[in-house]
Symmetry: C2
Subunit: 224 residues, 2 copies
């Protein structure tokens, strides 16, 4: 049988750095269901101009915090993931800036990523989807400006290193991060410093007009 249609859903893997120094993924729980699941939903032909709009709407169902970055990961289609037959799932991931305030809906929760997967089991194949999105993100973070999207407006170079530590479980040397980011035009010195119980660190913000979003090599400390 040839199909002109199939069940379509757009699933969103939203990542955020939490104050416990963990990467977290947004989940929610439906009433009467035992397992947490990813935000997912169908295309709304009225509201959505694109698939990314659909992904964005899924995020907005559970939090008011906007994502700083969206990327389509993969589209999975097969006939065994949904008992009703052929199903098609477009997977996006999104990056959010850290936030203390919980602008979350009641039924949703940020779950830690531990050892490369969600710390709690997810419904359907959602753990697998998280892992796919995470793999993509872990790769891209090594040769792009991605780390910045997981940080607040103003951040230090150490914050960038911290992103690597959390996401990759290891980080390039500060010297390497410094060289790369300072030599690029990705950062703008805010003129401000972050003060702690030590020498204050320079605070930077992202340069929206940068043309160095991609680098042409990976850090050596992080490759396979």
């Amino acid at each position: 049988m040839s199909l002109s249609t199939a069940l379509i859903s757009v699933d969103l893997v939203a990542f955020k750095l939490a104050s416990n120094n963990r990467l977290q993924v947004l989940t929610h729980q439906l009433p009467e269901t035992p397992l947490l699941q990813l935000p997912a939903g169908r295309i709304d032909s009225e509201q959505d101009q694109s698939l990314q709009d659909t992904a964005k709407r899924q995020l907005e169902r559970f939090t008011k915090e906007p994502a700083t970055y969206y990327e389509q990961v993969i589209t999975i289609g097969d006939n065994h993931r949904d008992s009703r037959g052929w199903s098609l799932t477009v997977v996006y991931y999104a990056l959010l800036q850290p936030s203390d305030e919980q602008m979350l809906s009641e039924d949703s929760r940020w779950i830690d990523i531990v050892d490369g997967k969600p710390a709690e089991p997810l419904a359907y194949d959602h753990s697998q989807l998280v892992m796919e999105a995470l793999a993509r993100m872990k790769n891209k973070i090594q040769y792009s400006a991605l780390p910045i999207y997981l940080l607040p407006e103003a951040f230090t170079l150490s914050d960038i290193q911290n992103v690597f530590s959390i996401v990759l479980d290891k980080a390039p040397p500060m010297r390497s991060i410094r060289n790369r980011f300072i030599n690029s035009d990705l950062l703008i010195n805010t003129g401000q410093k972050r003060h702690g119980s030590n020498r204050p660190a320079t605070l930077y913000r992202a340069n929206a007009n940068s043309n160095n979003w991609l680098f042409d090599r990976l850090y050596l400390t992080t490759r396979a």
Copy 2:
């Protein structure tokens, strides 16, 4: 209105190196239609276990030559590409080895890529899809074993450089290609040579068991 379904098609951008030293893309023409178009079709829930199966079937409709490589590029969904409303298109590209014999169906043709786009106009947004696939392929060729997939069973290092010349309009120095590929375990010396009107060149074949499919940097001569 919320949709559980939409029109879905899988579109295939099949690339091949032609004897005129051009990259070509497979197209076909339906009767009564003025423009060429890409192989595309719907999921067949009986035959297709995955979306790649669907892509593969599209290729097989027009040629018996198998592809050596498939990669999903992007899924595009919106409400203006098809007059019937929301449509969803999963785009794949495939790489084929060069071939003299034409095992093509009557209605299909390989079209040159000139200046980064098909030399002839294509129907719908298919030129755009070719360009998206080409962009992805041009990037990946610079840090992976991809060039090999566009070459015949046995090939020389110069052939690899030639792939770069054709696909990117410029190529890394032979010394760089040599160092990279010889130091990896991607190539197996067949022991044979290709003879011309000059010093014979060593013929290699791909090592299927290589674990160096990806490199950790781009060639400098080819970057932006």
